[in-house]
Symmetry: C2
Subunit: 304 residues, 2 copies
Protein backbone atom coordinates (compact mmCIF):
# COMPACT_ATOMS: atom_id res chain seq x y z
CA UNK A 1 0.00 0.00 0.00
CA UNK A 2 1.33 3.39 -1.03
CA UNK A 3 1.20 5.61 2.03
CA UNK A 4 1.49 9.36 1.55
CA UNK A 5 1.13 9.29 -2.26
CA UNK A 6 1.36 13.09 -2.51
CA UNK A 7 4.72 13.15 -0.74
CA UNK A 8 7.87 12.74 -2.82
CA UNK A 9 10.19 9.94 -1.76
CA UNK A 10 13.02 11.26 0.36
CA UNK A 11 14.12 11.83 3.94
CA UNK A 12 10.96 13.67 5.09
CA UNK A 13 8.62 10.90 3.97
CA UNK A 14 11.02 8.28 5.32
CA UNK A 15 11.18 10.00 8.70
CA UNK A 16 7.39 9.98 8.99
CA UNK A 17 6.94 6.36 7.92
CA UNK A 18 9.79 5.24 10.16
CA UNK A 19 8.41 7.13 13.17
CA UNK A 20 4.90 5.80 12.71
CA UNK A 21 6.19 2.23 12.37
CA UNK A 22 8.43 2.51 15.41
CA UNK A 23 5.75 3.80 17.77
CA UNK A 24 2.93 1.57 16.58
CA UNK A 25 4.45 -1.91 16.13
CA UNK A 26 3.93 -3.94 19.28
CA UNK A 27 7.38 -5.54 19.11
CA UNK A 28 9.25 -2.26 18.56
CA UNK A 29 11.50 -1.03 21.38
CA UNK A 30 10.00 2.44 20.71
CA UNK A 31 6.40 1.24 21.02
CA UNK A 32 4.01 3.89 22.42
CA UNK A 33 0.57 2.91 23.78
CA UNK A 34 -2.33 4.17 21.66
CA UNK A 35 -3.51 6.52 24.40
CA UNK A 36 -0.20 8.41 24.28
CA UNK A 37 -0.15 8.81 20.48
CA UNK A 38 -1.04 12.48 20.46
CA UNK A 39 -0.27 14.52 17.34
CA UNK A 40 -0.61 18.32 17.26
CA UNK A 41 -0.75 20.32 14.03
CA UNK A 42 -0.58 24.03 13.58
CA UNK A 43 -3.24 25.07 11.04
CA UNK A 44 -2.38 28.25 9.08
CA UNK A 45 0.56 27.52 6.77
CA UNK A 46 0.79 23.93 8.04
CA UNK A 47 -2.52 22.33 7.07
CA UNK A 48 -3.70 25.00 4.65
CA UNK A 49 -2.44 28.11 2.92
CA UNK A 50 -2.03 31.31 4.94
CA UNK A 51 -0.79 33.61 2.19
CA UNK A 52 -1.12 36.54 1.58
CA UNK A 53 -3.02 36.65 4.90
CA UNK A 54 -4.64 34.04 7.09
CA UNK A 55 -8.20 33.03 6.20
CA UNK A 56 -9.28 34.53 9.54
CA UNK A 57 -8.41 37.97 8.17
CA UNK A 58 -10.44 37.49 5.01
CA UNK A 59 -13.34 36.30 7.12
CA UNK A 60 -13.05 39.50 9.15
CA UNK A 61 -13.27 41.56 5.96
CA UNK A 62 -16.68 40.02 5.31
CA UNK A 63 -17.83 40.62 8.89
CA UNK A 64 -16.65 44.23 8.80
CA UNK A 65 -18.73 44.98 5.75
CA UNK A 66 -21.80 44.19 7.90
CA UNK A 67 -20.50 46.21 10.83
CA UNK A 68 -19.81 49.42 8.90
CA UNK A 69 -23.16 49.15 7.21
CA UNK A 70 -24.65 49.73 10.67
CA UNK A 71 -21.95 52.20 11.84
CA UNK A 72 -20.71 54.06 8.75
CA UNK A 73 -18.49 56.40 10.77
CA UNK A 74 -16.11 53.47 11.40
CA UNK A 75 -15.19 53.41 7.70
CA UNK A 76 -12.52 56.07 8.08
CA UNK A 77 -11.11 54.76 11.35
CA UNK A 78 -8.10 52.43 11.56
CA UNK A 79 -7.79 49.51 11.51
CA UNK A 80 -11.31 49.37 10.01
CA UNK A 81 -10.17 51.34 6.98
CA UNK A 82 -7.23 49.02 6.28
CA UNK A 83 -9.42 45.95 6.64
CA UNK A 84 -12.17 47.39 4.45
CA UNK A 85 -9.68 48.33 1.75
CA UNK A 86 -7.85 44.98 2.04
CA UNK A 87 -4.75 47.09 2.61
CA UNK A 88 -2.26 44.26 3.05
CA UNK A 89 0.74 46.45 3.92
CA UNK A 90 -1.02 48.23 6.77
CA UNK A 91 -2.52 44.98 8.06
CA UNK A 92 0.86 43.19 7.97
CA UNK A 93 2.45 46.09 9.86
CA UNK A 94 0.01 45.60 12.74
CA UNK A 95 1.47 42.16 13.49
CA UNK A 96 -0.30 38.88 14.06
CA UNK A 97 -1.74 39.39 17.52
CA UNK A 98 -3.26 42.82 16.87
CA UNK A 99 -4.74 41.67 13.57
CA UNK A 100 -6.26 38.54 15.06
CA UNK A 101 -7.57 40.31 18.11
CA UNK A 102 -9.28 42.85 15.88
CA UNK A 103 -10.65 40.07 13.68
CA UNK A 104 -12.06 38.20 16.68
CA UNK A 105 -13.76 41.33 17.98
CA UNK A 106 -15.81 41.59 14.79
CA UNK A 107 -17.83 38.57 16.00
CA UNK A 108 -18.71 40.02 19.38
CA UNK A 109 -22.40 39.85 20.15
CA UNK A 110 -23.11 36.69 18.13
CA UNK A 111 -23.98 33.43 19.81
CA UNK A 112 -21.57 30.60 19.01
CA UNK A 113 -24.36 28.90 17.06
CA UNK A 114 -24.98 32.02 14.96
CA UNK A 115 -21.26 32.33 14.35
CA UNK A 116 -21.02 28.70 13.19
CA UNK A 117 -23.84 29.24 10.68
CA UNK A 118 -22.25 32.42 9.32
CA UNK A 119 -18.83 30.80 9.06
CA UNK A 120 -20.15 27.68 7.33
CA UNK A 121 -22.02 29.62 4.71
CA UNK A 122 -19.05 31.95 4.16
CA UNK A 123 -16.83 28.96 3.49
CA UNK A 124 -19.18 27.79 0.75
CA UNK A 125 -18.11 30.57 -1.60
CA UNK A 126 -15.13 32.47 -0.10
CA UNK A 127 -11.92 32.21 -2.10
CA UNK A 128 -8.24 32.95 -1.62
CA UNK A 129 -7.74 35.86 -4.03
CA UNK A 130 -4.12 35.03 -4.94
CA UNK A 131 -4.81 31.37 -5.64
CA UNK A 132 -8.37 31.89 -6.86
CA UNK A 133 -9.41 28.75 -4.99
CA UNK A 134 -12.08 28.23 -2.35
CA UNK A 135 -10.40 28.60 1.04
CA UNK A 136 -11.53 25.09 1.94
CA UNK A 137 -9.67 23.90 -1.18
CA UNK A 138 -6.46 25.61 -0.05
CA UNK A 139 -5.93 22.61 2.23
CA UNK A 140 -2.68 20.70 1.59
CA UNK A 141 -3.25 17.22 0.18
CA UNK A 142 0.00 15.77 1.62
CA UNK A 143 -1.11 16.82 5.12
CA UNK A 144 -4.57 15.31 4.73
CA UNK A 145 -2.81 12.04 3.86
CA UNK A 146 -0.50 12.40 6.86
CA UNK A 147 -3.43 13.01 9.24
CA UNK A 148 -5.16 9.90 7.87
CA UNK A 149 -1.99 7.81 8.20
CA UNK A 150 -1.53 8.87 11.80
CA UNK A 151 -5.14 8.07 12.69
CA UNK A 152 -4.92 4.66 10.97
CA UNK A 153 -2.03 4.00 13.32
CA UNK A 154 -3.87 4.89 16.48
CA UNK A 155 -2.93 8.55 16.77
CA UNK A 156 -5.41 11.15 17.93
CA UNK A 157 -4.92 14.25 15.78
CA UNK A 158 -5.35 17.77 17.15
CA UNK A 159 -5.14 21.25 15.70
CA UNK A 160 -3.31 23.80 17.87
CA UNK A 161 -3.66 27.10 16.06
CA UNK A 162 -3.38 30.84 16.54
CA UNK A 163 -6.57 31.10 14.49
CA UNK A 164 -9.94 31.46 16.16
CA UNK A 165 -11.16 28.16 17.59
CA UNK A 166 -14.72 28.61 16.34
CA UNK A 167 -13.73 29.44 12.76
CA UNK A 168 -11.55 26.34 12.55
CA UNK A 169 -14.28 24.19 14.05
CA UNK A 170 -16.61 25.31 11.27
CA UNK A 171 -14.62 23.42 8.61
CA UNK A 172 -12.01 21.14 10.28
CA UNK A 173 -14.16 18.03 10.54
CA UNK A 174 -14.98 18.07 6.83
CA UNK A 175 -11.54 19.19 5.65
CA UNK A 176 -9.27 17.24 7.99
CA UNK A 177 -11.43 14.72 9.81
CA UNK A 178 -10.68 16.58 13.05
CA UNK A 179 -13.76 17.05 15.26
CA UNK A 180 -14.44 20.30 17.18
CA UNK A 181 -13.28 18.86 20.50
CA UNK A 182 -9.84 18.22 18.98
CA UNK A 183 -9.41 21.82 17.88
CA UNK A 184 -7.39 24.12 20.15
CA UNK A 185 -7.13 27.74 19.12
CA UNK A 186 -7.36 31.37 20.08
CA UNK A 187 -10.64 32.34 21.65
CA UNK A 188 -12.65 35.20 23.02
CA UNK A 189 -14.54 35.07 26.29
CA UNK A 190 -18.14 33.96 26.10
CA UNK A 191 -21.16 34.55 28.30
CA UNK A 192 -23.88 32.08 29.24
CA UNK A 193 -27.28 33.43 28.38
CA UNK A 194 -30.65 31.96 29.22
CA UNK A 195 -34.03 33.36 28.31
CA UNK A 196 -36.74 30.77 28.74
CA UNK A 197 -36.12 27.96 26.26
CA UNK A 198 -33.28 29.86 24.55
CA UNK A 199 -30.00 28.97 26.19
CA UNK A 200 -26.78 29.94 24.46
CA UNK A 201 -23.22 31.16 24.64
CA UNK A 202 -22.59 34.66 23.37
CA UNK A 203 -19.18 35.77 22.05
CA UNK A 204 -17.73 38.82 23.78
CA UNK A 205 -15.21 41.35 22.49
CA UNK A 206 -12.59 40.39 25.07
CA UNK A 207 -9.78 38.00 24.17
CA UNK A 208 -9.55 34.88 26.36
CA UNK A 209 -6.44 33.34 24.85
CA UNK A 210 -4.16 34.16 21.93
CA UNK A 211 -2.96 30.68 21.12
CA UNK A 212 0.52 31.37 19.82
CA UNK A 213 4.08 30.54 20.95
CA UNK A 214 4.24 29.59 24.68
CA UNK A 215 0.46 29.89 24.91
CA UNK A 216 0.15 26.91 22.54
CA UNK A 217 1.80 24.76 25.19
CA UNK A 218 -0.38 26.24 27.92
CA UNK A 219 -3.45 25.36 25.87
CA UNK A 220 -2.18 21.85 25.09
CA UNK A 221 -1.97 21.42 28.86
CA UNK A 222 -5.50 22.74 29.29
CA UNK A 223 -7.25 20.96 26.43
CA UNK A 224 -5.24 17.79 25.90
CA UNK A 225 -3.46 17.18 29.19
CA UNK A 226 -0.73 15.06 27.63
CA UNK A 227 2.55 15.87 25.96
CA UNK A 228 2.27 15.28 22.21
CA UNK A 229 4.76 12.89 20.60
CA UNK A 230 4.33 14.37 17.12
CA UNK A 231 4.13 18.07 16.26
CA UNK A 232 3.95 19.78 12.87
CA UNK A 233 4.26 23.54 12.43
CA UNK A 234 5.54 26.20 10.06
CA UNK A 235 6.59 29.25 12.06
CA UNK A 236 8.24 30.58 15.19
CA UNK A 237 4.78 30.43 16.75
CA UNK A 238 5.16 26.63 16.82
CA UNK A 239 8.63 26.45 18.33
CA UNK A 240 7.47 26.24 21.95
CA UNK A 241 5.16 23.29 21.30
CA UNK A 242 7.84 21.55 19.26
CA UNK A 243 10.29 21.91 22.13
CA UNK A 244 7.61 20.72 24.56
CA UNK A 245 7.00 17.59 22.49
CA UNK A 246 10.70 16.87 21.94
CA UNK A 247 11.52 17.23 25.65
CA UNK A 248 9.34 14.24 26.57
CA UNK A 249 10.59 10.69 27.13
CA UNK A 250 10.57 8.21 24.24
CA UNK A 251 10.29 8.64 20.48
CA UNK A 252 9.32 12.10 19.24
CA UNK A 253 9.01 13.81 15.89
CA UNK A 254 8.73 17.56 15.26
CA UNK A 255 8.43 18.81 11.71
CA UNK A 256 8.49 22.31 10.27
CA UNK A 257 7.20 23.05 6.81
CA UNK A 258 9.22 25.65 4.92
CA UNK A 259 7.30 27.53 2.24
CA UNK A 260 9.91 27.59 -0.51
CA UNK A 261 7.77 26.90 -3.54
CA UNK A 262 7.03 30.17 -5.33
CA UNK A 263 5.95 28.28 -8.41
CA UNK A 264 3.22 26.04 -6.99
CA UNK A 265 2.39 28.05 -3.87
CA UNK A 266 4.39 30.86 -2.18
CA UNK A 267 7.91 31.36 -0.90
CA UNK A 268 8.17 33.24 2.39
CA UNK A 269 9.66 32.93 5.85
CA UNK A 270 11.47 35.67 7.84
CA UNK A 271 9.65 38.64 6.37
CA UNK A 272 6.11 37.37 6.68
CA UNK A 273 4.92 39.75 9.40
CA UNK A 274 1.72 37.84 10.10
CA UNK A 275 3.68 34.75 11.20
CA UNK A 276 7.45 34.89 10.70
CA UNK A 277 9.74 31.87 10.48
CA UNK A 278 13.19 32.82 11.75
CA UNK A 279 14.29 31.33 15.05
CA UNK A 280 12.77 27.91 14.40
CA UNK A 281 14.44 27.73 10.98
CA UNK A 282 17.84 28.90 12.21
CA UNK A 283 17.84 26.49 15.15
CA UNK A 284 15.95 23.55 13.71
CA UNK A 285 18.95 21.21 13.76
CA UNK A 286 19.95 22.20 17.28
CA UNK A 287 16.43 21.52 18.56
CA UNK A 288 16.09 18.29 16.59
CA UNK A 289 13.33 19.66 14.34
CA UNK A 290 13.04 18.29 10.79
CA UNK A 291 12.49 20.85 8.06
CA UNK A 292 10.07 19.82 5.30
CA UNK A 293 10.42 21.59 1.97
CA UNK A 294 7.24 22.44 0.07
CA UNK A 295 9.18 22.40 -3.19
CA UNK A 296 11.18 19.23 -2.69
CA UNK A 297 9.00 17.02 -0.51
CA UNK A 298 5.59 17.46 -2.04
CA UNK A 299 4.32 15.81 -5.19
CA UNK A 300 0.95 17.50 -4.91
CA UNK A 301 0.18 20.72 -3.06
CA UNK A 302 -3.58 21.23 -2.70
CA UNK A 303 -6.56 18.94 -2.32
CA UNK A 304 -8.49 18.36 -5.54
CA UNK B 1 -27.84 -8.81 26.43
CA UNK B 2 -28.50 -7.22 29.82
CA UNK B 3 -27.51 -3.59 29.58
CA UNK B 4 -27.01 -1.63 32.78
CA UNK B 5 -27.10 -4.68 35.10
CA UNK B 6 -26.48 -2.53 38.20
CA UNK B 7 -29.53 -0.38 37.50
CA UNK B 8 -32.88 -1.52 38.83
CA UNK B 9 -35.65 -1.87 36.29
CA UNK B 10 -37.87 1.19 36.26
CA UNK B 11 -38.42 4.54 34.57
CA UNK B 12 -34.82 5.81 34.90
CA UNK B 13 -33.30 2.77 33.22
CA UNK B 14 -36.07 2.76 30.63
CA UNK B 15 -35.47 6.43 29.84
CA UNK B 16 -31.78 5.78 29.21
CA UNK B 17 -32.28 2.69 27.06
CA UNK B 18 -35.04 4.38 25.11
CA UNK B 19 -32.96 7.52 24.50
CA UNK B 20 -29.90 5.57 23.39
CA UNK B 21 -31.99 3.46 21.02
CA UNK B 22 -33.77 6.48 19.56
CA UNK B 23 -30.63 8.45 18.75
CA UNK B 24 -28.52 5.56 17.48
CA UNK B 25 -30.83 3.48 15.28
CA UNK B 26 -30.45 4.55 11.66
CA UNK B 27 -34.16 4.24 10.92
CA UNK B 28 -35.30 6.20 13.99
CA UNK B 29 -36.90 9.61 13.39
CA UNK B 30 -34.75 10.85 16.30
CA UNK B 31 -31.48 9.55 14.82
CA UNK B 32 -28.42 11.69 15.71
CA UNK B 33 -25.16 11.39 13.72
CA UNK B 34 -22.31 9.85 15.71
CA UNK B 35 -20.33 13.10 15.66
CA UNK B 36 -23.14 14.87 17.54
CA UNK B 37 -23.51 12.21 20.25
CA UNK B 38 -21.82 14.21 22.99
CA UNK B 39 -22.45 13.20 26.61
CA UNK B 40 -21.26 15.33 29.54
CA UNK B 41 -21.03 14.02 33.09
CA UNK B 42 -20.40 15.93 36.25
CA UNK B 43 -17.87 14.01 38.36
CA UNK B 44 -18.19 14.60 42.13
CA UNK B 45 -21.44 13.06 43.33
CA UNK B 46 -22.37 11.93 39.81
CA UNK B 47 -19.62 9.47 38.84
CA UNK B 48 -18.13 8.94 42.28
CA UNK B 49 -18.84 9.75 45.91
CA UNK B 50 -18.31 13.34 47.13
CA UNK B 51 -19.29 12.87 50.78
CA UNK B 52 -18.36 14.08 53.39
CA UNK B 53 -16.16 16.27 51.18
CA UNK B 54 -14.93 16.03 47.60
CA UNK B 55 -11.80 13.95 46.99
CA UNK B 56 -10.06 17.16 45.92
CA UNK B 57 -10.28 18.37 49.53
CA UNK B 58 -8.76 15.19 50.95
CA UNK B 59 -5.98 15.45 48.39
CA UNK B 60 -5.33 19.01 49.57
CA UNK B 61 -5.00 17.71 53.16
CA UNK B 62 -2.11 15.54 52.03
CA UNK B 63 -0.49 18.38 50.11
CA UNK B 64 -0.84 20.75 53.06
CA UNK B 65 1.02 18.39 55.34
CA UNK B 66 4.04 18.88 53.08
CA UNK B 67 3.55 22.64 52.91
CA UNK B 68 3.38 23.23 56.67
CA UNK B 69 6.39 21.02 57.20
CA UNK B 70 8.33 23.68 55.29
CA UNK B 71 6.39 26.66 56.70
CA UNK B 72 5.28 25.69 60.23
CA UNK B 73 3.88 29.15 61.01
CA UNK B 74 0.99 28.42 58.60
CA UNK B 75 -0.33 25.75 60.97
CA UNK B 76 -2.26 28.24 63.07
CA UNK B 77 -3.59 30.29 60.16
CA UNK B 78 -7.00 29.73 58.56
CA UNK B 79 -7.95 28.00 56.38
CA UNK B 80 -4.73 25.97 56.84
CA UNK B 81 -5.72 25.09 60.38
CA UNK B 82 -9.15 23.82 59.34
CA UNK B 83 -7.69 21.74 56.53
CA UNK B 84 -4.95 20.31 58.73
CA UNK B 85 -7.44 19.36 61.40
CA UNK B 86 -9.92 17.98 58.83
CA UNK B 87 -12.39 20.37 60.43
CA UNK B 88 -15.40 19.58 58.25
CA UNK B 89 -17.71 22.21 59.72
CA UNK B 90 -15.29 25.10 59.09
CA UNK B 91 -14.45 23.81 55.62
CA UNK B 92 -18.12 23.43 54.68
CA UNK B 93 -18.80 26.97 55.87
CA UNK B 94 -16.24 28.34 53.41
CA UNK B 95 -18.33 27.17 50.46
CA UNK B 96 -17.30 25.27 47.38
CA UNK B 97 -15.42 27.91 45.43
CA UNK B 98 -13.24 29.12 48.32
CA UNK B 99 -12.43 25.56 49.37
CA UNK B 100 -11.48 24.49 45.86
CA UNK B 101 -9.49 27.62 45.14
CA UNK B 102 -7.51 27.02 48.33
CA UNK B 103 -7.05 23.36 47.43
CA UNK B 104 -5.77 24.22 43.95
CA UNK B 105 -3.28 26.73 45.34
CA UNK B 106 -1.59 23.96 47.34
CA UNK B 107 -0.17 22.64 44.03
CA UNK B 108 1.38 25.92 42.93
CA UNK B 109 5.00 25.55 41.91
CA UNK B 110 4.75 21.95 40.68
CA UNK B 111 5.03 21.08 37.02
CA UNK B 112 1.99 19.32 35.61
CA UNK B 113 4.10 16.17 35.23
CA UNK B 114 5.17 16.29 38.90
CA UNK B 115 1.56 16.85 39.90
CA UNK B 116 0.40 13.84 37.87
CA UNK B 117 2.99 11.60 39.57
CA UNK B 118 2.00 12.81 43.05
CA UNK B 119 -1.71 12.41 42.32
CA UNK B 120 -1.31 8.91 40.88
CA UNK B 121 0.66 7.64 43.82
CA UNK B 122 -1.74 9.29 46.30
CA UNK B 123 -4.66 7.47 44.65
CA UNK B 124 -2.94 4.13 45.24
CA UNK B 125 -3.62 4.24 48.98
CA UNK B 126 -5.90 7.20 49.79
CA UNK B 127 -9.28 6.23 51.21
CA UNK B 128 -12.62 7.87 51.86
CA UNK B 129 -12.74 7.86 55.68
CA UNK B 130 -16.52 7.50 56.00
CA UNK B 131 -16.76 4.60 53.57
CA UNK B 132 -13.32 3.18 54.36
CA UNK B 133 -12.81 2.51 50.65
CA UNK B 134 -10.06 3.62 48.28
CA UNK B 135 -11.23 6.83 46.61
CA UNK B 136 -10.83 5.16 43.22
CA UNK B 137 -13.24 2.47 44.47
CA UNK B 138 -15.84 5.08 45.42
CA UNK B 139 -16.78 5.17 41.73
CA UNK B 140 -20.42 4.26 41.03
CA UNK B 141 -20.79 0.96 39.19
CA UNK B 142 -24.11 1.93 37.51
CA UNK B 143 -22.43 4.99 36.00
CA UNK B 144 -19.46 3.01 34.70
CA UNK B 145 -21.98 0.79 32.93
CA UNK B 146 -23.82 3.81 31.57
CA UNK B 147 -20.60 5.36 30.21
CA UNK B 148 -19.76 2.07 28.50
CA UNK B 149 -23.27 1.75 27.04
CA UNK B 150 -23.09 5.27 25.62
CA UNK B 151 -19.68 4.66 24.06
CA UNK B 152 -20.84 1.35 22.55
CA UNK B 153 -23.54 3.39 20.86
CA UNK B 154 -21.20 5.96 19.36
CA UNK B 155 -21.27 8.58 22.10
CA UNK B 156 -18.15 10.47 23.09
CA UNK B 157 -18.17 10.79 26.89
CA UNK B 158 -16.81 13.85 28.67
CA UNK B 159 -16.39 14.87 32.28
CA UNK B 160 -17.35 18.48 33.06
CA UNK B 161 -16.47 18.99 36.72
CA UNK B 162 -15.84 21.66 39.31
CA UNK B 163 -12.92 19.53 40.44
CA UNK B 164 -9.38 20.25 39.32
CA UNK B 165 -8.82 19.11 35.74
CA UNK B 166 -5.39 17.61 36.50
CA UNK B 167 -6.55 15.58 39.51
CA UNK B 168 -9.40 14.06 37.48
CA UNK B 169 -7.05 13.30 34.60
CA UNK B 170 -4.85 11.32 36.97
CA UNK B 171 -7.49 8.59 37.40
CA UNK B 172 -10.34 9.09 34.88
CA UNK B 173 -8.93 6.96 32.09
CA UNK B 174 -8.53 3.94 34.37
CA UNK B 175 -11.73 4.48 36.37
CA UNK B 176 -14.12 5.61 33.64
CA UNK B 177 -12.39 5.01 30.31
CA UNK B 178 -12.36 8.79 29.77
CA UNK B 179 -9.03 10.08 28.40
CA UNK B 180 -7.43 13.34 29.62
CA UNK B 181 -8.52 15.30 26.55
CA UNK B 182 -12.16 14.52 27.37
CA UNK B 183 -11.89 15.92 30.89
CA UNK B 184 -13.09 19.50 31.44
CA UNK B 185 -12.63 20.93 34.90
CA UNK B 186 -11.49 23.79 37.05
CA UNK B 187 -7.92 24.86 36.46
CA UNK B 188 -5.18 27.17 37.58
CA UNK B 189 -3.04 29.20 35.22
CA UNK B 190 0.19 27.55 34.08
CA UNK B 191 3.48 28.92 32.82
CA UNK B 192 5.65 27.55 30.02
CA UNK B 193 9.16 26.94 31.25
CA UNK B 194 12.19 25.94 29.21
CA UNK B 195 15.69 25.31 30.53
CA UNK B 196 17.75 23.47 27.97
CA UNK B 197 16.23 20.03 27.45
CA UNK B 198 13.75 20.50 30.28
CA UNK B 199 10.56 21.97 28.92
CA UNK B 200 7.48 21.95 31.10
CA UNK B 201 4.31 23.60 32.30
CA UNK B 202 4.35 24.87 35.85
CA UNK B 203 1.17 25.30 37.91
CA UNK B 204 0.62 28.79 39.32
CA UNK B 205 -1.37 29.87 42.35
CA UNK B 206 -3.86 31.87 40.28
CA UNK B 207 -7.21 30.36 39.30
CA UNK B 208 -7.91 30.22 35.55
CA UNK B 209 -11.43 28.85 35.66
CA UNK B 210 -13.75 27.61 38.37
CA UNK B 211 -15.79 25.17 36.33
CA UNK B 212 -19.14 25.37 38.06
CA UNK B 213 -22.65 26.54 37.11
CA UNK B 214 -22.64 28.88 34.04
CA UNK B 215 -18.87 28.39 33.70
CA UNK B 216 -19.50 24.71 32.88
CA UNK B 217 -21.30 25.83 29.74
CA UNK B 218 -18.56 28.33 28.91
CA UNK B 219 -16.00 25.53 29.19
CA UNK B 220 -18.11 23.12 27.14
CA UNK B 221 -17.99 25.80 24.45
CA UNK B 222 -14.23 26.12 24.81
CA UNK B 223 -13.26 22.45 25.06
CA UNK B 224 -15.98 20.60 23.18
CA UNK B 225 -17.47 23.17 20.81
CA UNK B 226 -20.76 21.30 20.49
CA UNK B 227 -23.95 21.25 22.51
CA UNK B 228 -24.21 17.96 24.39
CA UNK B 229 -27.32 15.86 23.83
CA UNK B 230 -26.95 13.98 27.12
CA UNK B 231 -26.01 15.48 30.49
CA UNK B 232 -25.82 13.87 33.91
CA UNK B 233 -25.30 15.85 37.12
CA UNK B 234 -26.22 15.92 40.79
CA UNK B 235 -26.33 19.51 41.99
CA UNK B 236 -27.30 23.09 41.21
CA UNK B 237 -23.81 23.41 39.73
CA UNK B 238 -25.02 21.28 36.81
CA UNK B 239 -28.26 23.11 36.10
CA UNK B 240 -26.79 25.50 33.53
CA UNK B 241 -25.28 22.71 31.44
CA UNK B 242 -28.51 20.71 31.67
CA UNK B 243 -30.48 23.67 30.40
CA UNK B 244 -27.90 24.23 27.65
CA UNK B 245 -28.23 20.62 26.49
CA UNK B 246 -32.03 20.60 26.69
CA UNK B 247 -32.33 23.85 24.71
CA UNK B 248 -30.80 22.26 21.60
CA UNK B 249 -32.74 20.86 18.67
CA UNK B 250 -33.61 17.15 18.56
CA UNK B 251 -33.65 14.45 21.25
CA UNK B 252 -32.07 15.35 24.58
CA UNK B 253 -31.75 13.74 27.98
CA UNK B 254 -30.69 15.45 31.22
CA UNK B 255 -30.51 13.39 34.40
CA UNK B 256 -29.95 14.40 37.98
CA UNK B 257 -28.90 11.90 40.61
CA UNK B 258 -30.48 12.46 44.01
CA UNK B 259 -28.47 11.09 46.94
CA UNK B 260 -31.30 9.62 49.00
CA UNK B 261 -29.72 6.38 50.16
CA UNK B 262 -28.45 6.80 53.72
CA UNK B 263 -28.18 3.06 54.08
CA UNK B 264 -25.86 2.19 51.20
CA UNK B 265 -24.24 5.61 50.69
CA UNK B 266 -25.40 9.03 51.98
CA UNK B 267 -28.55 11.11 51.94
CA UNK B 268 -28.02 14.82 51.33
CA UNK B 269 -29.17 17.65 49.08
CA UNK B 270 -30.10 21.21 50.11
CA UNK B 271 -27.83 21.43 53.12
CA UNK B 272 -24.62 20.13 51.58
CA UNK B 273 -22.66 23.37 51.56
CA UNK B 274 -19.92 22.05 49.29
CA UNK B 275 -22.39 21.48 46.44
CA UNK B 276 -26.05 22.02 47.27
CA UNK B 277 -28.96 20.58 45.34
CA UNK B 278 -31.95 22.89 45.63
CA UNK B 279 -32.99 24.78 42.53
CA UNK B 280 -32.36 21.89 40.15
CA UNK B 281 -34.41 19.53 42.35
CA UNK B 282 -37.29 21.95 42.84
CA UNK B 283 -37.51 22.76 39.14
CA UNK B 284 -36.50 19.47 37.57
CA UNK B 285 -39.93 18.79 36.10
CA UNK B 286 -40.29 22.31 34.74
CA UNK B 287 -36.91 22.08 33.01
CA UNK B 288 -37.51 18.55 31.74
CA UNK B 289 -34.79 17.02 33.91
CA UNK B 290 -35.21 13.42 35.07
CA UNK B 291 -34.39 12.73 38.71
CA UNK B 292 -32.56 9.45 39.39
CA UNK B 293 -32.87 8.02 42.89
CA UNK B 294 -29.81 6.37 44.39
CA UNK B 295 -32.05 4.27 46.63
CA UNK B 296 -34.65 3.21 44.09
CA UNK B 297 -32.78 3.07 40.78
CA UNK B 298 -29.54 1.38 41.73
CA UNK B 299 -29.05 -2.32 42.31
CA UNK B 300 -25.36 -1.85 43.07
CA UNK B 301 -23.67 1.33 44.28
CA UNK B 302 -19.89 1.08 44.04
CA UNK B 303 -17.49 -0.69 41.72
CA UNK B 304 -16.09 -3.94 43.09
CA1 LIG C 1 1.27 28.66 11.17
CA1 LIG D 1 -21.39 17.26 41.52
Amino acid sequence: MNHLPSWNDGPSKDAILDFVARVSHGDSPDFVPVSERIACFDNDGTLWCEFPMQTQVFFAFAQLANIVEKSPDLKEKQPYKAFLEHDTATIHALGKKAVFEFAFATHAGMTVDEFADIARSWFETARNPKLDRLFVKCVYQPQVELLALLRENGFKTFIVSGGGIDLIRAFAELAYGIPPEQVVGSSVKTAFEAAGKLVSLRKLAELRSFDDREEKVVNIGLHIGRRPIFVFGNSDGDLAMMRYALAGQGPRLAMLVHHDDAEREFAYDRDFKLSPLTEALDNAAAYGIRVVSMARDRKEVFVA
